[in-house]
Symmetry: C2
Subunit: 312 residues, 2 copies
């Protein structure tokens, strides 16, 4: 599980930072890549990574500002052009309006995609995706336009079957092991009753990633971020600009760090960096945040963060 | 007068070539920059040039395929964001559909531009722009989708007033010189009749630039290209692929060269290069064209071509 930042800038593309695009790479887990926001040029950035567009099967859009969606028509077209098949559909979770934008672009350009797009409208807070491996929760944030944050929860892994212990207790191997691994209780031919739970290691906690859209400070942030292994938080403004941040519906680097500290987050990644902060000034955003929350990183384009299981 | 190539690729962006975008820089002439096609990432390319988005006041779109228009919403938004004023409007000349695409993008993203956009629909062949300095003619090409080529004609410059000759003939300087420069005939106080035309140098021929969209070979190409100082012609396919080019509504490098030769063009620039042609293979497109028409250049991203007055 890795997060790869395709664009870490705010508003307009700059030489050093593209507009927002974040890839959550779940290749080892489920051989999928999920994309969070698709600013213009996201497909250009992907060209410079090992990400294959066909592998991207879910796109989550935090809000409809241009710097978060104008790369959609081009990305979707190229995914088709580059050979995505009919059986490789894509689901877009986004506030109302994205379907209108994408379909107008496709109609006007007479683009026929080789695969189907499912549009899921985000309008209220809910679990927007759940299967046996992952759950994604969306909650409203506080931006100038309807905006969401996402909490991606990996489900816990069951404990490993302690085969050595079973052998030591002379439990014969075979299909019974599968039942024990599933936690069931079985009766052996010699009459002994064996409880699976006695032979299972501790379950491994799944990881939690919180990815926020643009936002002022608001209560829902804590609900998304609580105990996350990684929190991706916008940092559009510097330490001393809390009033400006409030006026423009954004956050400061220090506010992000305070969230991380309060919510027992393991790692904080700052993104959505204004072009006003370059070099030393950008590093200062990280430095000021670190005073509040030590494990903070300021993301740059093409940064990759591995997300390890927590040691507990 | 310069042509700057912002994107020289076909279909999808590639590492070495962005999708189509061409700037005609008329800074010395009228302090304006005109853009021909705006593929995704055109604004990113502009960041790496000296072009200021505010100076771009006319955009000409050859056709509505995504690789020629998906950069419009982002470019238009950033032009506003970067401070274009209410009195710096922009006119977009394009086939029907662009207004729908742009306005949907602006509405969905809740973008309010600081300046006005005038949409001029290209539907039939005509002079689409004319003032005292330039005329632009649009003609249909033959592509899978309605597509236009443009002929930009700079009007001739009147000859210079021969001041030395006037002095030698004892014509007193003063406001009369202005009338002579305008070609009028005047009567001096001493009764002599002086014809302006006797004191004017030869008029200087204006330059002609032909910029074509994607196209098969078709008769209108000659009408656009005839006697052009520069012809920008697509070269999507290689020498031996005329049948493929025809099937896909495109041209080969050799077909472009034949046009240049037949139409008495001074310089041919090949663009819209498929990602299949890299390095040696791309150079071969130019080489094969040069056998037919010597003054051929294959455009690469960020190439700038000065367009000199012809020596006559
Ligand atoms: Zn925003
Ligand atoms: Zn085309």
């Amino acid at each position: 599980m890795e997060l790869e930042f395709l664009g870490t800038g705010a508003g307009s593309p700059a030489k050093s930072r593209n507009v927002t695009g974040i890839a959550l790479k779940l290749l080892e887990e489920i051989n999928e890549v999920w994309l969070f926001d698709v600013g213009e040029g996201t497909q250009h950035q992907i060209l410079r990574t090992t990400i294959r567009p066909r592998k991207i099967n879910r796109i989550f859009i935090t809000h409809l500002h241009g710097d978060h969606i104008f790369g959609l028509p081009g990305f979707l077209s190229s995914r088709s052009f580059q050979g995505a098949q009919k059986n490789e559909p894509l689901t877009i979770y986004a506030p109302k309006g994205v379907q209108d934008f994408v379909q107008t672009a496709m109609r006007v350009s007479q683009t026929k995609l080789s695969y189907k797009i499912n549009f899921v409208v985000l309008d209220k807070e809910k679990n927007i995706f759940e299967d046996e491996r992952f759950r994604v929760i969306a909650k409203h944030l506080d931006h100038r336009i309807e905006c969401f944050g996402f909490r991606i929860e990996e489900k816990d892994y069951p404990g490993e079957l302690m085969v050595a212990k079973l052998r030591a207790d002379n439990v014969p191997s075979g299909p019974l092991y599968g039942q024990l691994k599933a936690g069931k209780t079985i009766t052996l031919q010699d009459g002994r009753i064996i409880k699976g739970q006695d032979y299972l290691g501790a379950p491994k906690k799944g990881r939690i990633i919180a990815i926020l859209g643009d936002t002022r400070q608001t209560d829902n942030i804590a609900l998304l971020a609580q105990n996350a292994d990684v929190l991706v938080h916008e940092s559009t403004f510097a330490k001393d600009e809390a009033q400006l941040a409030y006026n423009y519906y954004h956050s400061t680097c220090v506010q992000a760090a305070q969230v991380a500290s309060r919510c027992n987050v393991k790692k904080l990644i700052l993104t959505h960096i204004s072009a006003r902060y370059v070099g030393q000034k950008a590093r200062l955003l990280e430095k000021d945040a670190k005073i509040i929350f030590k494990n903070t990183k300021l993301a740059n384009d093409f940064d990759v963060f591995k997300i390890p299981f927590s040691k507990k």
